[in-house]
Symmetry: C2
Subunit: 246 residues, 2 copies
């Protein structure tokens, strides 16, 4: 935990905060801080700053926080992901938030089992703590916006333009020789990127064709076949790295 991510409702107008039990325990037992010492803090979807410990008593920790004038920049990558198995999805939330995504758009595809959509890991109370964990690791405050779409064709044809206006679109496809850096060679500092990643068995021909019709350019990361988790981390890394130039 490299940042205590606070809900704005926790922060009084004078910047004082009474920490939740989990945060208080982290300050006392992991960081082992005392009165007068400081800890990095941030508000969900808001600014980061520094909290000075004013009270430590029993299990109770209070901070006086001073926040930066502006929040950090929002991650410039959005992810369109064919919903993986619940066990895989559960482990993916934190790394996604750590790497940085503006949106996580989950969709059906031919090779996605319908009952994956019934999983607890798709409920906000299931995934939000995992996203917070990832943000606290990365030292970011931007909560990824999550949306879930059971109809791939309707999503791509009717909703994607409104969800992600004017972005560069890439679709990861095992057969492609085009590198992410090449596809994004002319990226500008204001560009956002929407990256589509398929299910373990890949997009089918219809899905790939529909994505291409809607402006997604194919990219590949070499001949090795990665699991969904590893592929997501690898692809997001390459997109972020390409955007570091722009």
């Amino acid at each position: 935990m490299n940042l205590l991510l606070l809900d704005p409702s926790e922060v009084a107008t004078d910047g004082s905060v009474s920490l939740t039990q989990a945060h208080a325990e982290h300050v006392r037992k992991v960081l082992k801080l005392g009165t007068g010492q400081t800890v990095r803090v941030g508000m969900v979807d808001g600014a980061m700053g520094v909290g000075t410990i004013t009270t430590i008593a029993d299990r109770h920790v209070e901070l006086a926080c001073a926040f930066d004038p502006a929040p950090p920049a929002r991650p410039r990558v959005d992810l369109l992901l064919a919903l993986p198995r619940p066990k895989v999805m559960r482990r993916l939330w934190a790394p996604l938030a750590t790497l940085g995504v503006g949106q996580v758009i989950l969709t059906n595809a031919e090779k996605v089992e319908r009952d994956y959509f019934d999983s607890h890991v798709l409920q906000p109370e299931g995934y939000r703590p995992l996203l917070i964990e990832g943000l606290q690791q990365a030292r970011d405050t931007h909560m990824p916006i999550v949306s879930i779409h059971k109809r791939f064709k309707v999503l791509v044809e009717d909703h994607l333009d409104a969800l992600c206006p004017s972005v560069r679109r890439l679709v990861a496809h095992p057969g492609s020789d085009t590198r992410v850096a090449t596809a994004l060679a002319d990226v500008t500092p204001s560009d956002r990127v929407l990256l589509a990643t398929g299910p373990e068995g890949g997009w089918n021909d219809f899905e790939l064709s529909l994505l291409e019709t809607h402006g997604f350019a194919r990219v590949g990361i070499g001949p090795r076949i990665l699991t969904t988790t590893t592929a997501c981390v690898a692809l997001l890394t390459l997109v972020h790295e390409a955007l570091r130039r722009g």
Copy 2:
């Protein structure tokens, strides 16, 4: 499982193989193949090829295998990793093999707890099945060579040149602005890369300085702080991507 990885001892001189129970079950229940159909096979540290099913009876599956004349190319990246917690290390073996590493060189560092070295995940019987799982996912046959070093200084000063002769050396360090692609801009097709990745809290000044004295160039992947697992996947991805050009 995108490849059945066989031990050379399983393969008779005429190419016939009687599959282990796990492989037989995969062929019957997941791939649902029948007599005359084919499956991709490979021999540990050897060639890949195709196995034609000659017998399926009860739980017993036999193949007639034909192997390529040459094994696939060995991954051109080696990893020097400050040993993470056993739970993290256990989950890292398979992704490392999937992404492709020639060697995994595990080392001590100031921020590594000594008792991590006693873990079962550092015993070959603990990690070898996980490496095989990763290779079967990636469709590769090259078993990473694992070595474990409890003394960082001795490793870097006395053993590393022999373990990894004439390679490009990089050390990941959060503060560095140098991108992996920049550090490897002049890479040639025969170059190998040794990538050093620190513990969760980072290398200390002595460790970083010792690595630099021994030819490691600092690289960074941006301001976000990643977990060891995500950092390893991200960094290996960037090195492999840089080597795709060379």
